[in-house]
Amino acid sequence: MTLWLVVQGIVFHAAAPRKAFSSMLGWFAPTIPLYLVLYWVTPANLGVLSDGFVGVDWRLGLLNGLTIHVLLFLTAGLFYSHADRSITVRLLIELSRAPRQRLTLAQMQERCGVEVLMQDRLDIMVRNGFLASRGSRLVLTPKGWIGGSVGLVARRVFRMKAL
């Protein structure tokens, strides 16, 4: 995980990939076989762990480590999403950069209002294959249809309100 974080950090700064999540997934994928190989070739106590930290059954240890490895990757993906996409953080950053750190509602809507934000989001969704442009209209791709279906079910379950 640490190795992946370092490599991904370098990739973000050196290549600035347009499809960030694809890049993260692409660089994370090889760490799975790497983990399996390391699990195979290293001693159960890694030469440093006490007996209490060494699992009784190697299969459980393998599965447990893999689960945590994947969960940490997903958490890192969410961290990226928070940092890159959070609307609230963007609002606060715009305020911090404004003269005397003050903005009227109209100025805020101009700098990071729904037009600016939604245009960004629509571009990202088209670029990532969730939407496709058909003439002047946007339509769902099969990937977007799955995403929309998941969202539809989740909204029926959670019933969180926009306001």
């Binding site: 973000f12 700064h13 600035a16 960030a20 209490g52 930290f53 699992g55 009784v56 059954d57 459980l60 945590i68 969960l71 940490l72 997903l74 958490t75 999403s81 928070h82 940092a83 890159d84 959070s86 609307i87 609230t88 953080v89 963007r90 609002l91 606060l92 950053i93 305020l95 911090s96 750190q101 003050r102 903005l103 009227t104 509602l105 805020m108 209002g113 729904v114 934000l117 939604m118 989001r121 629509l122 969704m125 969730f130 058909r134 209209r137 946007l138 769902l140 977007g144 249809w145 929309g148 969202g151 539809l152 989740a154 909204r155 379950v157 959670f158 969180m160 309100k161 926009a162 306001l163």
Partner: protein, 178 residues
């Protein structure tokens, strides 16, 4: 293994409890529901770990961790990571502007929508769109910004979040103003 089983059980209850409470919760501070459910699940997890037998009545000896502390910590770590993912999933599914577009398109069928229709989902034709109507009151109430003379001013608390946000964006090489 005991920690993993109990964490899975506690998480299932967390999902059930939060989904039920969100259906009747009248406010818009849903994070309180999620945090409350999480605290409840941690208490249940720890209580189950303390009270139930080491094999939970069905775990074979070969699958029992030799150190209860490691077992407890491992299960708790997984519960925390899965909860964070669940929380983000729920917020993204229900409140994300991107998801709103996909859900609206999914409901419309194959006809699709224009960009202006996508903007209208977020209230672009209203004086104050949905994005601001949801967030500004929370920023005001939370002491991140103040409203004075028809403008919003950043407060010290908001400035700290903005600095952290800028730092994180630089860390991932994202555009600071995006």
């Amino acid at each position: 293994m005991r920690g993993l089983v109990l964490a899975a059980g506690a998480f299932a209850l967390l999902v059930l409890a939060s989904a039920v409470v969100l259906r009747v919760y009248p406010g818009n501070k849903e994070f309180k529901v999620f945090l409350g459910a999480f605290v409840g699940s941690v208490v249940l997890y720890a209580g189950g770990f303390w009270l139930l037998p080491a094999d939970l009545g069905f775990i074979p000896p070969a699958w029992q961790e030799s150190s209860p502390a490691v077992d407890l910590g491992n299960g708790l770590l997984i519960l925390v990571l899965v909860f964070h993912g669940y929380w983000c999933f729920a917020y993204f599914s229900c409140l994300s502007p991107s998801m709103s577009v996909m859900v609206a398109l999914r409901q419309r069928g194959s006809g699709g929508m224009t960009e202006s229709e996508a903007l209208a989902i977020q209230g672009s034709d209203e004086p104050v769109n949905l994005i601001f109507r949801r967030r500004l009151p929370k920023l005001l109430k939370g002491g991140y910004v103040s409203e004075e003379d028809g403008a919003y001013r950043l407060l010290a608390r908001g400035e700290r979040v903005a600095s952290l946000g800028s730092f994180l964006k630089r860390l991932i090489n994202a555009q600071v103003g995006a």
